[in-house]
């Protein structure tokens, strides 16, 4: 099925900007020349056909108005420490990663624990395309057209018990294909978690694709979580286990540096990281050499949908 890229930015809106920046870069000379790499980067507005297509109907209720980040940037600039801590490492080293066979075990405080095969997961609910902002805790952001369906669809299938207060998500460890796991940068496997109401929220997406194609390995193939109002590290990639628990699960980054990374990790411009402010962010492909960073929005701009989850909570203490 042919897939049309969102957003429908008319070419005339794109070209003049890059041409304009290019000219400026040229005029600016020395340092300006350095800018060419960034400013001259073409805005790719269509799936490049590098992965099999993943048909999904666009859900207009969940399409950010922001301009999507180019496919090249989305797939070449990644934090996926199992492949290395460099931003280019995942794209460079994820080539041998195996996405089949693949199962996701769902267990813990549920009436019907079960293991789903990836192919049955793909068919479990109608695939939607949603364009979400992604804000990294490091201070950069992207806008990505994801394909998937609400995690709630899967959760309903397993019938959580009344003791299920939290959900833990676990990323696969493939020692032979993941060069990063030989170093104990984090306590592998990578574990993240959500509160039950966060996991059930309609924004929380069980994600199988981006830009209308199946997920590239470096972006968390074959299935991942996307939680758009939280810092990116909350959204686990290459998901193999979902565990429902009564207690808040110990998560990788809280275990590694609890002072810097909290369990909630909601995007919040008012709560700085110890080493940098979170008040602003750099939109990849747009902000940088010639334009200042942009203000970060509370809950990454999803406040009207999620702020009520945290009513009465001290978000400075629960960062």
């Amino acid at each position: 099925m042919p897939f049309r890229m969102p957003s429908d930015i008319v070419p005339s809106e794109i070209t003049p900007r890059s041409v304009f920046l290019n000219r400026r870069a040229l005029l600016a000379g020395g340092m300006g020349a350095l800018a060419l790499g960034a400013a001259g980067r073409p805005a790719i507005a269509a799936a490049p056909g590098r992965n099999p297509a993943l048909p999904a109907a666009r859900n207009a209720a969940f399409v950010a108005a922001d301009k999507p980040t180019s496919y090249d940037d989305v797939t070449s600039y990644n934090n996926y420490y199992e492949f290395g801590t460099g931003k280019g490492d995942p794209a460079d080293y994820a080539g041998d990663f195996r996405t089949r066979p693949w199962t996701v075990a769902v267990e813990g405080e549920v009436a019907k624990p079960q293991t789903f095969d990836i192919d049955s997961l793909l068919k479990l609910a109608a695939m939607e395309e949603r364009v979400y902002r992604l804000r990294c805790v490091e201070g950069w952001s992207m806008v990505i057209p994801w394909s998937g369906y609400p995690l709630a669809e899967l959760i309903k299938q397993v019938e959580p018990t009344s003791r299920a207060k939290y959900v833990a998500f676990e990323t696969v460890v493939q020692k032979d294909t993941m060069p990063g796991v030989s170093r104990r940068v984090l306590d592998w496997p990578y574990v993240e978690g959500l509160r039950m109401d966060e996991a059930m929220h309609p924004l929380t997406l069980l994600t199988f694709g981006l830009y209308g194609e199946v997920l590239p390995n470096q972006n968390g193939a074959p299935v991942r979580i996307v939680v758009p109002w939280k810092y990116g590290f909350k959204s686990v990639k290459s998901l193999v286990r979902i565990r429902f628990t009564e207690q808040e699960p110990p998560t990788s980054w809280v275990k590694a540096a609890a002072r810097e990374y909290g369990f909630y990790a909601n995007v919040n411009p008012n709560v700085p990281h110890p080493r940098w402010s979170q008040a602003t962010e750099r939109r990849i492909g747009e902000d940088g050499i010639f334009s200042p960073k942009r203000p970060t929005l509370m809950f990454n701009g999803y406040g009207d949908q999620v702020a009520s989850l945290y009513a009465g909570m001290d978000l400075k203490a629960n960062y």
């Binding site: 020349a33 350095l34 790499g37 070449s76 280019g88 810097e260 700085p272 080493r275 940088g288």
Partner: protein
């Protein structure tokens, strides 16, 4: 350059000072070109779409990395001179140190420009609030007096002894720069690079202590 009066006869080809068998002027030119390699690399990467999806971050970190590398090279010159007996190495020390300052200045510029957008109030607040930034800022500012007094005129004005004491500030800059990197890497929980630099720095400083001690030992 060695000072030479205009009236002096032209030296024979092999008579000038040499470093590792290379005539000093050629050696200096080689070091100068090497010092420009990081800058040239950025320009090439800029024209070949190689600055990653986040060029600002790439250039900021790359400038920081090269600052640290060249600081370590600067600190290695004296031990290398003592070990190899190549006295001429001291003739490139100032240039290497100034390259460290050059890349430190670019690293600082990336921060005030791309991170803070030249907002002096925001910069002051950031330095006051964040030890990570403060330590980097101190490491850079301590290099400024060294760069300013790197000329022969300043050596004369200060006197060799005072000048030498002042320039030992580079040890402090080295330590602060390492702490800055260490805290940066703490965010990624990845201390491999920082550990390597720490090892090199410890080795260079350790050699100095050993050298002083071993030269004093026979006397005491």
């Amino acid at each position: 350059m060695t000072a030479r009066s205009d009236a002096a006869p032209r030296p024979k080809p092999r008579s000038g000072p040499r470093v590792f068998g290379i005539p000093l002027p050629l050696f200096r030119a080689g070091v100068f070109i090497l010092g420009l390699v990081p800058l040239a690399r950025w320009v090439v990467l800029g024209f070949t779409n190689g600055l990653t999806a986040n060029p600002v971050e790439f250039l900021t970190r790359s400038a920081g990395t090269w600052t640290l590398v060249i600081l370590m090279v600067t600190l290695a010159i004296t031990p290398l001179r003592a070990v190899t007996g190549q006295a001429g190495l001291v003739k490139v020390r100032r240039m290497v140190g100034l390259f460290a300052f050059f890349y430190a200045s670019l690293h600082f510029l990336t921060y005030v420009w791309w991170d803070q957008w030249f907002d002096p109030v925001a910069i002051a607040a950031d330095i006051a609030k964040r030890p990570f930034i403060l330590v980097g800022f101190l490491a850079f500012t301590l290099l400024i007096p060294l760069a300013v007094t790197s000329t022969r005129g300043w050596v004369r004005r200060l006197g060799g002894r005072n000048w030498q004491w002042l320039h030992r500030l580079i040890y402090l800059t080295g330590g602060l720069a390492l702490l800055h990197l260490w805290w940066h890497k703490a965010g990624k929980n990845d201390f491999l690079d920082a550990g390597i630099y720490l090892g090199v720095f410890a080795g260079l400083m350790g050699w100095r202590l050993w050298y002083r001690w071993s030269r004093r030992a026979p006397i005491s």
